[in-house]
Subunit: 217 residues, 2 copies
DNA sequence: GCACAGCCGATTGTATACATCAGAGAGGTC
DNA sequence: GACCTCTCTGATGTATACAATCGGCTGTGC
């Protein structure tokens, strides 16, 4: 797995996260093999890992597709995410290092810049993909700062699933600015080692996204 | 994956859950292949799935071992589990079917019988493995009754990790009886469609197990 | 006696060939 | 014309052969 397999895993995962492969799309092993320039064996291992990550669904003897979520499953998804990441924010406020804080601050700045300097709305795919990527890294950094293997491994799956939904797609300027402001406030709470506030801000932040997804239906 | 691979997955998983393969033990592909009577290919796929399930750890070019948990990781593990399964119990109280209730009742009866008719303590491995299995099924049934894919998929990993710890190992009679009583009370709360109580009982139940694990150190 | 380099066995990683299965499409029957 | 069945194609599932890598052992030099 040292090279071909983990490389294939990264390539496929990125393709899904960045929206090149859309939900429901069929993933043929031979095609992916050509894409990653390896044989089917490491591709199959990558697909199995992605399945357990929850972003690919495999039907025996039939093949793999990018995982789809039914609209009525989304409220629970975001609620569970809000609970877990809220707990992570709480722990992060208690256990963070200076390095964590530095990383969070940089990610807040980067996202702020992307949003404020953004041109006309709706944004192009490139800009949205970059913003989504920064957003994902921010949340992942909070999860790491919580210093809990159980929490990190568990919450990352849900974070990935949310990013996959591309619920940013038709975010308008005000929604993105609110999101930035919440990231900034969360970073402040973590910097101030205020666990309750960090938890509350994170919950509010994710439940806001939940509201946005529900409104799309 | 229709046959050999999923079969290998089940065999290895059961072996770990039932304590035949202990934490930290090396899992050689060739050995497992002989055990399951298949070639290394499906074994490798099973191991990759088990890794993402969190019960096997794979080091590239080095091999797979049964996942170990450091003592200082356990409090968080049980706390996250308590939160997720508490939420599941809450949803189960709201969304359960009559079938769910029937299954829970039967599992409570089965566990009760195992514990009350149990002979001298400490119990033998066989009796403990059966009790652990019923316990696992009970919790899994609650997760299913919550009717939430995000919650079920997420919480099952932590449940498996807890079962793997075999924290029952030196449960005495009183601890097992308390566990049974809590299962019974939880079933009552779910039957009565009382979400807050169901959540509270589940949290108390899991945090009791957490206390037991911590006391072992 | 100790440290280090190089070899060797064992194990994992990858590619390929073959077996098996699901689904689409043609052809036939009612 | 609708439906059923059969075949056939393309994909996945498995086994095996080969390549790459790791860890321990041995033997040498100091």
């Amino acid at each position: 797995m040292s090279e071909a397999s983990s490389n294939a895993y990264d390539v496929i995962r990125r393709s899904i996260m960045e929206g090149d492969l859309l939900a429901g799309q069929r993933l043929r092993e031979a095609d992916l093999g050509r894409l990653c320039k390896v044989s089917r064996t490491p591709i199959r291992e990558a697909l199995r890992r992605l399945e357990s990550d929850g972003i690919v669904s495999i039907t025996p003897n039939s093949g793999a597709v990018v995982t789809t979520w039914k609209p009525d499953e989304l409220p629970d998804l975001f609620l569970v995410r809000a609970t877990l990441e809220g707990m992570a924010a709480q722990f992060a406020a208690q256990r963070r290092s200076e390095g964590d804080l530095h990383a969070l601050t940089q990610l807040v700045e980067a996202m702020d810049e992307m949003v404020t300097k953004a041109g006309d709305f709706p944004l192009g795919d490139g800009a949205l993909a970059r913003i989504a990527n920064i957003n994902r890294e921010f949340h992942d950094t909070v999860l790491s700062a919580a210093r809990s293997r159980a929490l990190h491994d568990t919450a990352r799956r849900l974070l990935d699933a949310s990013v996959m939904l591309r619920s940013f797609t038709d975010y308008d300027r005000s929604a993105l600015e609110r999101s930035c402001a919440q990231h900034r406030e969360l970073t402040e709470a973590i910097a101030a080692r205020d666990p309750e506030r960090a938890c509350a801000v994170m919950r509010a932040h994710i439940l806001a996204a939940r509201g946005g997804v529900l409104a799309e239906e």
